[in-house]
Subunit: 210 residues, 2 copies
């Protein structure tokens, strides 16, 4: 089975991207990151990519002010690079529905909570953890899912529960959930690259004997 | 600290009640079940209670057709027995808001999912697990919470995550969650009876050094 060609879309530090790179470097993932696309010109993720000789590019409001133009620019690169899997690793920009439709069940996102709790519009970044703490939940977690037209509504690939402690702050909870994200996202990418994720309606079945 | 007087409200088999009895019998809970009230005349929970010499009573539609009369009948018993903690162990009947207000932060319920996922009106019994499977969630769990005026909206005391397996049916998932319920409910009752649950707004803090 040939290596899967991966694009990683980022906006920030890129620690989730780093977690994928680490597993690729170890030879644990049958895939290769062909391109890193950042919506933020100064994202540290672009520096990380460069360190590994991975091509990085900025496509954002400063060079493409129009959202359709941005989408077209991203699509053009993805097609040129023959990308088979798109990983959103903290990508904070809008993906147009035409884009999502074109790459249906080939876009993976990570959310820092147990979907369907604490997700949807307005729940991003630290707001997710603040909501968990405000609710008084005792368990949170991380979810890797395929992206569909909704916000955090696509089929769930993997989830891992994380304990919420009574003395947690947004920062301590975010840090504990991030550890789970760093386990979960490379694992999902690995399964995808081995052809082991089967989407059946809303459900993602994981093949074990392949 | 004197023993806390407990009432358990049931409607069915009473395995969650049994889990509490087991811990009381072992001397692990500083409490005593003074009365079991069933909304179902034929609930096996009443037989279980009798086996341990615990008084059981049926208060339901057959002897009190009016909901207010039922509430009054239950309140009368609770007051006579000087009940300090009410445990809903699969109680499928309505508790009027006057009742809930009177015993604020003294009524404990168990829900077979990780609130705020898969809860609220219509989510009870096997419907909860069916919804989890239909959604394709990979993690579910159990929640013990104080009861407020909403449906499954009260402050969360304890939660435990439970894995959802690809080949789960409602029955196999329900069985796995029930094991968690049997751990969680007696633990919450124990903490309550030791005065270790502090409700602060929506949050339940668990005292550790008392």
């Amino acid at each position: 089975m040939s290596e899967i060609k991966i694009a990683v879309l980022v906006s920030g530090g890129g620690t989730n991207m780093q977690a994928i790179i680490n597993e690729i470097e170890k030879g644990n993932i049958n895939g290769r990151i062909e391109i890193v696309i950042s919506s933020n010109e100064k994202a540290f993720a672009l520096e990380r990519a460069a360190k590994y000789g991975i091509e990085g590019i900025y496509i954002g409001k400063n060079n493409y002010s129009d959202v359709h133009k941005r989408t077209e620019a991203i699509l053009e690169i993805l097609e040129k690079k023959e990308i088979q899997l798109i990983v959103l690793a903290g990508y904070m920009s809008i993906l147009e529905s035409s884009f999502i439709e074109k790459y249906k069940n080939r876009i993976i996102n990570i959310h820092p909570a147990l979907i369907p709790s604490f997700c949807g519009k307005g729940y991003y970044g630290q707001k997710v953890h603040q909501a968990v703490l405000d609710y008084g939940a005792k368990v949170s977690g991380a979810t890797v899912h395929f992206v569909d037209e909704g916000t955090d509504t696509g089929p769930v690939i993997l989830q891992e529960a994380v304990e919420v402690k009574d003395d947690d702050t947004v920062e301590t909870l975010a840090a504990r959930v991030l550890e789970a994200e760093h386990r979960l996202l490379p694992k999902a990418v690995k399964l995808f690259c081995e052809g082991k994720l089967v989407v059946e309606g809303r459900k993602v079945r994981i093949l074990t004997n392949k």
